[in-house]
């Protein structure tokens, strides 16, 4: 059981005189819950997603983002932990450390990396996550660590896949997990020999984001407009994948979207509306339907009156 807790978060573009975009966001996402975050363009939704993941283009000026894990969330970590070890202040961590703790950002426009096969990328990501978790949870003797690193070098496999003994997840085990997840998402195995997102259609990229979430098993996944540019079949596949994240891995989902459409397939437990850098209204699934019918003006008026 993990909880992502965002308190009074203020952030601006990280440059001199950079625009202030987040003006006090409060939001809590628990694992197993699906939250939809809606709002007009420019309200700060994507910025919030990036700030949670630690994008260097934004500077947090106030507030906090905390991640609270439970004993079950760290069952894979071989370390003796005190109670306070389950609470992390994400703003103090690098993006990869946040990822290791179980934060996943599904990108609206994922990067295309030529020359790096999906297989190689996913395996390295899994291994990196496992390594980083160990390091985050226990302070290893540095000498020991170095000795371990030396042992990692070997020639046995293709350079495209990295040394055979690099990391913790073996090739066979990896393939098995991968096949299972791909089948679930109805993805072709050929996918894995292609370069990461390079030449992928919009739909393939979105499917790939969900596949990565399925492989990395995050506690909380922030999905930034994962429904944009999808045809109806692909939307169903992606939705099925998102539901599976919640149902099978207990992932908490923060789904950023403009449209009701995806919410027909991924039913939200909570809906939030963001306006001008703040979450101004929260409710259940019915809120999304009302927004679909009536737009955001009434929310703006409500918010104005309340202020």
């Amino acid at each position: 059981m993990a909880t992502l807790e965002i308190n009074d978060l203020h952030a601006r573009v990280a440059e001199e005189g950079g625009e202030r975009i987040l003006l006090g966001v409060d939001l809590t996402v628990e694992s197993g819950d699906i939250h939809a975050l809606m709002g007009p363009n420019g309200s700060g939704k994507s910025t919030l997603a990036k700030v949670i993941a630690g994008h260097p283009a934004y500077e947090v000026t106030d507030g906090s983002i905390s991640l609270h894990l439970s004993e079950a969330d760290v069952a894979d970590v071989d370390a003796e932990l005190d109670d306070e070890d389950y609470h992390w202040e994400l703003l103090e961590l690098e993006p990869n450390e946040r990822a290791a703790l179980g934060i996943f950002l599904g990108f609206q426009y994922p990067a295309e990396i030529e020359g790096v096969t999906m297989t190689n990328f996913l395996r390295q990501a899994l291994n990196a996550k496992a390594d980083e978790r160990e390091e985050l949870f226990e302070e290893e003797d540095e000498d020991e660590e170095e000795a371990e690193a030396d042992d990692d070098e070997g020639y046995e496999t293709s350079p495209m896949e990295g040394p055979a003994d690099d990391g913790e997840i073996g090739v066979a085990e990896f393939q098995e997990i991968l096949s299972e997840k791909m089948e679930l998402l109805d993805m072709d195995e050929k996918f894995m020999q292609r370069y990461l997102n390079a030449g992928f259609s919009g739909g393939e990229k979105k499917q790939n984001e969900v596949l990565q979430a399925a492989m990395l098993e995050p506690s909380v996944a922030v999905l930034d407009e994962i429904d944009s540019g999808l045809d109806i079949d692909r939307l169903k596949d992606v939705s099925k994948g998102i539901n599976a994240l919640r149902d099978e891995q207990g992932t908490g989902i923060l789904q950023i979207t403009h449209y009701q459409r995806i919410l027909d397939y991924v039913e939200p437990d909570h809906v939030h509306v963001m306006l001008d850098g703040e979450v101004v209204k929260s409710g259940g699934a019915e809120l999304a339907e009302k927004l679909e019918d009536e737009g955001y003006d009434w929310v703006r008026e409500d918010a104005f009156e309340a202020a």
Binding site: E94, N96, A111, E114, V116, F121, A125
Partner: protein, 476 residues
């Protein structure tokens, strides 16, 4: 020839060795490259008269030619002091025996081998220490298989003795004459060691011929010559490897490579080289392809202070083709100026050039290329693509593709991209758990993937590891 030297020929090896040592100190007091120096090298190698004459002629040409100084954007060669070159020759010959033990090697080299994850036996072979015979065995086994087919693969010095006629006909005559450039002339005068490969008609050498083990152990030195002759219809893949940094007191490397691709023959020349950071790497490599012949150059240039290297191919016969794949990496204080030259001198000839370069910490890379299409070389086509990747705002990258097109019925394409490693790309990988360094490394290994996929696996692994080490800045 002095009588003293004559006498010494009769004495045992040890005495000859002593003689060399004496000569060594004598050389050091001399200034500049003299005729006497060249005579001693030739004498030392017991060469036929014609080779000595060629050396002396090359020396004359070297002395007549000015240093290249006026190329646009040319690396600074002002530190290359010709007067200092010669005294350094002898120490290298002394090193032929190699260090006595692993521990005697410079720490930098030991360190690199360790980081490359090269097994002990291989390390020793690569560094020329002790276990030479292990590599000899590997080499011997393969050699027997080749010999049955009439393939010759041996040290260049030995080839001059044992395959004199072939060498005499091809050595720096038609392909890379000493008059080509100042450093080719220098090479012609003082060349030493290298590889000789001869493949008879319609013979395919299935396994790549590798001059991997022999690079250091047989003291190929800094002026090695590689001569490859592939007769009609033959096929060979030659790999000159040495991903180990070649340690040397030298600061100049000036090698020569000549490749003769017969009618419908196919030669692939691959190399992954990493030079110590004080080396000026100034080479001349050229191939001549006859009708229907196919030449492929694949090279990874790492290390060195400055590199000027433009492997070239003369497409002499109808339907000949050429393919270049190169990668360059420049770090702090390095200027890597490399590219390709192709001469389309016959109809229906084809060429492709794919160049990748990476610059970081203020390093500079430059693609310098020339495609020449002669009048009458109709239906020829060429495609040049160069991509540069930069890590920071201090690094620079230039592209200088020259195209001389004297025929109208041709197809010419050029494409160049220069990019900085994208922050968004790095962040994407970081958000998946990779740290900053691993993310950059992944992007770079993806960038050079077209090269690594062309190389045999062990070279690909080492190239990747070398790039990794360069990026960590941990290679001396």
């Amino acid at each position: 020839m002095s009588s003293q030297q004559d006498d010494l020929k009769e004495t045992d090896t040890e005495a000859r060795f002593e003689f060399k040592k004496e000569e060594n100190s004598a050389f050091k007091s001399e200034k500049g490259l003299t005729e006497e120096t060249v005579r001693v090298i030739s004498e030392d190698k017991d060469e036929p008269e014609w080779m000595l004459e060629r050396r002396l002629r090359a020396l004359e040409q070297f002395q007549e030619m000015p240093m290249p100084t006026d190329w646009p954007g040319q690396p600074d060669l002002s530190e290359v002091d010709i007067n200092e070159i010669v005294p350094y020759i002898r120490p290298d010959i002394d090193k032929r025996g190699g260090a006595d033990s692993w521990e005697d090697l410079p720490e930098e080299i030991q360190d690199t081998f360790d980081k490359l994850g090269i097994p002990e036996a291989e390390k020793n072979a690569l560094s020329g220490v002790g276990a030479q015979y292990e590599s000899e065995i590997v080499y011997q086994n393969m050699q027997e298989r080749w010999e049955e087919k009439g393939v010759i693969f041996c040290d260049m010095d030995k080839a001059v003795q044992e395959h004199e006629e072939i060498v005499r006909e091809h050595f720096m005559t038609k392909c890379v004459p000493p008059s080509d450039n100042k450093f080719a002339a220098l090479h012609g005068a003082i060349w030493s060691g290298g590889s000789f490969v001869y493949v008879p008609e319609n013979t395919t050498v299935e396994m790549p011929i590798q001059a991997y083990f022999r690079m250091n152990s047989e003291g190929m030195g800094q002026f090695e010559h590689t001569l490859i002759i592939a007769e009609e219809g033959s096929e060979v893949h030659y790999i000159e490897g040495c991903s180990a940094p070649k340690y040397s007191a030298f600061n100049l490397h000036s090698g020569g490579v000549e490749v003769f691709v017969g009618e419908d023959a196919h030669v692939q020349y691959s190399t992954v080289q990493n030079w110590s950071k004080n080396t000026y790497n100034l080479n001349t490599k050229r191939a001549i392809a006859e009708k229907g012949g196919r030449m492929e150059w694949i090279s990874g240039s790492m290390g060195s202070k400055a590199t000027m290297l433009y492997p070239s191919t003369i497409l002499k016969g109808r339907g000949a083709s050429d393919n270049h794949i190169t990668i360059a990496f420049a770090g702090e204080g390095q200027d890597i100026d490399t590219g390709a030259k192709v001469y389309h001198n016959a109809p229906d000839t084809k060429s492709t050039v794919e160049s990748k370069s990476i610059a970081k910490d203020g390093g500079r890379t430059n693609y310098r290329g020339l495609v020449h299409i002669a009048d009458g070389a109709e239906n020829s086509s060429t495609a040049v693509e160069c991509d540069a990747l930069m890590f920071d705002n201090e690094s620079t990258s230039d592209t200088m593709p020259y195209m001389e097109i004297n025929e109208s019925k041709v197809d010419v394409a050029h494409e160049a991209t220069v990019g900085k490693i994208g922050d968004e790309d790095i962040f994407y990988l970081q958000s998946r758990g990779l740290d900053d360094d691993d993310a950059k490394q992944m992007i770079v290994s993806g960038f050079i993937e077209p090269i690594t996929e062309e190389l045999p696996i062990e070279y690909a692994v080492e190239l990747n590891r070398l790039v990794e080490l360069e990026m960590e800045g941990s290679l001396g």
